[in-house]
């Protein structure tokens, strides 16, 4: 899964629309010209308003997740105050990259599910791993109808003393690991997260977790052209889901003056 939601679900090829300016620039059809597999029945679909990376890690008290507040329209920073983190019941949190309308559909779907569960009033509550499993069934069912929900999602949660984080995307691909990152974060943040977290999942404090997550969000803001320096950090612990207010990182741009073609230096 690369950092251009537009090329998700397509044969890998970076020769076209390299800077992902769609829908401002229409994206061309690419891939093998006479590939029998891809020339079958086709549904036209593409993401329109998109979110970028989501990060999630396990730490001592539970899990931490972060996503910025931007929803882009191609290369246009269209909506700058949206939340891409959403709680599902008391124990679970989901974060979404990719198409924001598909994500809103999923929010409704999961909210309906939780209402249905609540009304049974028998004390059985869905845990994060169960919601993750349900979500991946939904994603896989839609891809199998050739009508995918164009997202890559992280699910995180904490229930009965156990932390959980999982990844699922528009193809229904799933995996779990102690650190997860979608989109551009998979290239930029994942190595930093792995170095900081692996082997320390049960000892890392909330402060340490927050520090590495903030660091990654800053690096992503420096490097990802579809990101925003305004992001939310959420935790799921014994105390339940807590989604923080939008915050920013201190950034430093004086070096930019010295970059040819960016600052005053033109030649």
């Amino acid at each position: 899964m690369d950092h251009f939601p537009l090329s998700w679900g397509r044969p890998r090829n970076d020769a076209v629309d390299l800077y992902s300016t769609y829908p401002v620039n229409e994206r061309q059809r690419h891939g093998p010209k006479n590939d029998a597999f891809t020339d079958g029945v086709q549904h036209t679909q593409q993401p329109i308003v998109t979110g970028t990376s989501v990060l999630a890690i396990k730490y001592k008290d539970g899990i931490m997740m972060a996503a910025d507040c931007l929803a882009s329209y191609g290369s246009l920073a269209r909506f700058k105050d949206i939340s891409r983190l959403h709680s599902v019941g008391q124990y679970t949190l989901i974060g979404a990259g990719g198409d924001m309308s598909d994500f809103q559909y999923l929010q409704h779907l999961l909210d309906d599910l939780m209402i249905e569960e609540y009304t049974s009033e028998d004390g059985h509550k869905l845990g994060p791993d169960e919601i993750y499993h349900y979500l991946s069934q939904v994603m896989y069912a839609r891809r199998s109808k050739m009508n995918p929900l164009w997202n890559s999602l992280l699910v995180g949660g904490f229930k009965d003393g156990k932390s959980f984080v999982g990844y699922v995307d528009l193809l229904g691909t799933t995996y779990t690991a102690s650190t997860l990152a979608t989109g551009y974060g998979a290239y930029i943040a994942q190595p930093l997260l792995r170095r900081a977290v692996e082997g320390r999942e049960t000892t890392m404090t909330e402060e340490e977790a927050r520090a590495i997550i903030q660091e990654c969000m800053k690096v992503l803001f420096y490097r990802d052209a579809r990101s925003l320096n305004k992001f939310q950090i959420a935790t799921v612990t014994e105390r339940g889901v807590q989604i923080g207010d939008a915050i920013s990182s201190e950034t430093e741009w004086s070096f930019a003056e010295k970059i040819r073609g960016y600052g005053s230096q033109t030649q």
């Binding site: 690369d2 397509r10 994206r27 086709q42 891809r143 799933t174 995996y175 998979a186």
Partner: protein, 259 residues
Amino acid sequence: MALAQPLYADQHRPIQHQFNPYAENGGTILAIAGKDFSVIAGDTRQTEGYSIQTRYAPKVFKLTDRAVLAVNGFQADCSTFVKKVKQRIEWYRHAHSKQMPLKAIARMIQGMLYGKRFFPYYTYNILGGIEEDGTGAVYSFDPVGSYEREACRAAGAASSLIQPFLDNQIYFKNQTPAPGAAPFEPGNLPMDTVLSIVIDSFTSATERHIEVGDGLEMFVVVAPGRDVAGVQSLGAEELPALTPEGERIFVLRRDLKKD
């Protein structure tokens, strides 16, 4: 990296956005049958493109006390397929009050794969275990269900690296018996030899293929009554059996390089 100029013909025809419902998630699986045992193995790395998604995503699953299935290809199809196979096996148990025999599972898998012939599961399956006659067996499948019983098979990302090695070591291809020695007979190697061949296959594939590595899981299915001291001494974990005193399944885990 230059932006490729679209062809004139491409610019003047309607734009088609196709959705490709498949991905390729790397990794490799293999299985080797012995006289009264069967070894089914897979690495635990899951990739997409050049990214390692996770270092631990199991590809080998216990189905019954005598059957183990390894799956490789597109992860979403793989996990769906394994779940459906397990469900069919559970219905078999409900209906017949016994566990499904290996060759019946093999035929069932061919039916399930071929049932999606025109929107295939992008999965390569290798089924290993013990037949009702007590012999070790390996069945290999292509994504649309064609299958056969073999002495060994490798599939997945590094299959083209491992299969020729197995052809040589298991089927004795390009080897000639010493003058006066008995002719080679594939499928009769002792368990410790088979296990070293499996481990060597994966360490070598890890060296040469970027999508293989991280961890190795080897399931050893053993016929009833066979001596298991060998596999136990290697530190294998035994999986609980539904029916005691029948076949036994052990899991051996080894690290592979993570780079």
